[in-house]
């Protein structure tokens, strides 16, 4: 922009314009540096993870991803249960959080009385500010007793014929961790979805209503489709948070390197295992295996995010308006 301006001014550009272009250049340079810092940081992170896990990569290769043994004593490591635990807990969390937070967002933008909208949204955003260790403690002291004594037995009596709801109920389990994760990602999804829905032009809404649509039809046919890509972005944000959450999960998941069909059984996630074992890992191969887990987590996060981006592109390519965001 600055160059083209000075170029057009031909022979002797006014001094003020030249000065402005210097300022612009410096500003541009600074911003470029700031923007470069992020890929650089990612690059360093990746290099560090690869160099940290070199030993484990050499010993276990890609089999690390599919093997289920995690035995620091015999120094055999495989991350399959951790990967499954991470993906499953995040998936279950989204399964619970997405409908709920979308419902709240739609209610708050379309249906709620004006007086309620702002305070309710503020309260939900406040949930995002609670530290995860507090969620974890609340989970141990409040959520788990309720789940173990009331909710889980009820689920078992209702759906006990499914393998997902069989077995002994201990409290800490895949399902408990997923529920706390759902509570934790809800404010993110709700808050961003709400902003996106607010950005839908009122002409869109009014047009639907003018055509004789009910409120429900206006929401499902005109408003949500318009905001679709933004809502998917909100879900990705929540998913990123769920994949990487450590403290609350490790306090509620039961920390067991095992894959079980039952959601009442203890499980484990990659982030939780790293946090648990890193400080006291003495053997080089143990440390390296943990770095390898971190590398896999990094890879899984990148893949999941890339997948979600592709999803957004496909959605927007279909010609749905409002494809920005």
């Amino acid at each position: 922009m600055a160059e083209s301006l000075t170029g057009e001014a031909l022979v002797s550009p006014p001094r003020s314009l030249v000065r402005a272009s210097y300022g612009d250049r410096i500003f541009k340079g600074l911003l470029t540096l700031a923007a470069l810092a992020i890929p650089l940081l990612l690059g360093f992170l990746f290099i560090e993870l690869v160099s940290g896990s070199r030993l484990a990569i050499a010993r276990f290769g890609f089999g690390f991803i599919t093997r289920s043994t995690w035995n620091p004593v015999t120094e055999e490591f495989g991350a399959f249960p951790l990967i499954v635990g991470t993906l499953l807990s995040s998936f279950l969390a989204l399964l619970m959080a997405v409908p709920l937070s979308l419902g709240v967002a739609i209610y708050l933008t379309e249906f709620a009385p004006m007086l309620v909208r702002k305070p309710a949204a503020f309260l939900i955003e406040l949930l995002a500010a609670i530290p995860s260790v507090v969620y974890g403690l609340w989970g141990i002291f409040v959520l788990i007793p309720i789940l173990r004594q009331t909710v889980f037995p009820f689920l078992q009596s209702l759906l006990g014929f499914l393998p997902f709801f069989q077995g002994t109920i201990y409290g800490p389990s895949m399902l408990s961790a997923s529920i706390i994760l759902a509570i934790m990602v809800m404010p993110y999804i709700m808050s961003v979805s709400r902003e996106v829905l607010l950005a839908v032009p009122s002409s869109q809404r009014e047009a639907a209503l003018a055509l004789g649509a009910t409120r429900w039809e206006a929401v499902t046919s005109a408003i949500v489709p318009y905001a679709r890509s933004g809502i998917i972005g909100a879900i990705i944000l929540g998913l990123g948070r769920a994949l990487g959450e450590t403290m609350a999960v490790t306090m509620l998941i039961g920390n067991r390197h095992a894959i079980s069909a039952s959601l009442f059984a203890p499980s484990y996630t990659m982030a939780a295992a790293i946090a648990n074992e890193f400080a006291e890992a003495v053997a080089d191969i143990h440390l390296s295996a943990l770095a390898y887990v971190a590398l896999v987590l990094f890879g899984v996060t990148v893949l999941v995010n890339a997948g979600a981006r592709v999803l957004i592109w496909r959605v927007t390519k279909r010609g749905v308006p409002g494809g920005h965001l």
């Binding site: 035995n71 067991r256 003495v282």
Partner: protein, 361 residues
């Protein structure tokens, strides 16, 4: 308490003396450098962190020497000591031979205090009656082979106790910890099956149960879930008034865990004169010895290339094994070193070297 305060004062007054002795022995060239040490840094085990912090604080008040300790975990302690980024390390698990080779064998393990691990359980039907267990039964429980509380192996150890027909729910530490190491080191000694199938370590592949983070996590889980059993540090169980089991030691005596019975475990060790203190005291057999106990160690350079630091560390260690310092340990719930161990450690401290020659004094 009064006596303790007096003992501490006694030591405080003798420290300048110790410094004077150390300085005079170093020759004129190094006399100044011993005083030139402005501070020491250490890093390692989290389990003894409360007592170390207190010791370093007391020592600072007595001598003005600042010792900065970071409780980053035993693994980190060994690593930082090996890399030479700290003046001393601290660990709950002695260094392996290959780890010692990495520092050219220039390391001495100095036992500081004794920690014990207790089995805490939730069996309301027992009331105040304490549970008694033995090593084999504990191992079988944690191997997932004794699955009900009214199993005849448990009831044989507890005649007349009404054990419920309930599932045994095992709770283990999910975070790497010295507590897990002490516990599994014990189980490996008493049960060949445990040794073959699981082994000893800070992080393990547990055959059964659920993992909870930290002593507080295990405690909370056990408190909430009827029929559960887990293991926590003795101090933690004492301060939280948990129900804990008496354990039969090698001589068949059922011993209730306490500071005294943990110290007794260390007193029964048959020390070789040239021991490097890397000794496991689990499964001890002496009278009144609680079998699930262990030392925690400081890692010190046997020959410190920096004479000033070598002298400063030596003086601190001399203070640390003194009755005053060891009394602080029991105040905080750590079992102090028994007298024979203190004598052995003192001898070894006297033999510390700096830059290839003996540290004066």
């Amino acid at each position: 308490m009064r006596q303790h305060a007096r003992a501490r004062r006694g030591w405080v007054t003798s420290i300048p003396l110790a410094i004077a002795i150390a300085a005079s022995g170093c020759g004129s060239g190094e006399a100044g450098s011993a005083a030139a040490v402005s501070g020491l840094t250490g890093a390692g085990a989290t389990f003894p962190n409360p007592i170390y912090t207190r010791w370093f604080d007391e020592y600072y008040r007595a001598t003005g020497l600042q010792i900065n300790y970071q409780s980053i975990g035993s693994g980190g302690g060994i690593r930082q000591f090996t890399e030479g980024t700290v003046d001393f390390g601290a660990t709950d698990e002695p260094m392996q031979d290959e780890e010692m080779a990495a520092v050219g064998g220039n390391v001495l393990h100095i036992p500081t205090v004794i920690g014990a691990v207790v089995l805490t359980y939730n069996l309301p039907s027992l009331g105040e009656t304490p549970l008694t267990l033995d090593g084999q039964t504990i191992a079988d429980m944690f191997l997932g082979r004794v699955t009900r509380w009214n199993d005849r192996r448990i009831s044989a150890l507890n005649p007349g106790v009404g054990l419920p027909d309930a599932e045994v729910v095992l709770v283990y530490r999910s975070d790497g910890s010295g507590t897990s190491f002490i516990f599994t080191d014990y189980l490996s000694k008493v049960s060949p099956d445990w040794k073959n199938e699981v082994g000893a370590g800070k992080s393990l592949q547990w055959p059964a149960g659920i993992g909870a983070k930290g002593n507080e996590g295990v405690t909370q889980q056990v408190k909430q879930l009827e029929g559960s059993i887990g293991y926590v540090e003795l101090i933690y169980a004492l301060s939280n008034r948990l129900a804990y089991a008496a354990v039969r030691n090698k001589s068949g005596e059922a011993v209730v865990p306490s500071l005294a019975s943990a110290s007794a475990a260390a007193a029964g060790v048959d020390w070789a004169a040239d021991t490097d203190f890397r000794v496991s005291i689990t499964d001890a057999s002496g009278p009144g010895a609680y079998p699930i106990a262990s030392f925690t160690w400081l890692l010190i350079k046997q020959d410190n290339p920096d004479p000033a630091k070598g002298a400063a560390i030596k003086q601190f260690l001399e203070w640390m094994v003194s009755p005053a310092a060891q009394n602080i340990a029991s105040e905080l719930g750590y079992a102090p070193l028994p007298v024979p161990v203190v004598d052995l450690v003192s001898q070894r401290i006297a033999g510390l070297q700096a830059a290839g020659s003996a540290i004066g004094g």
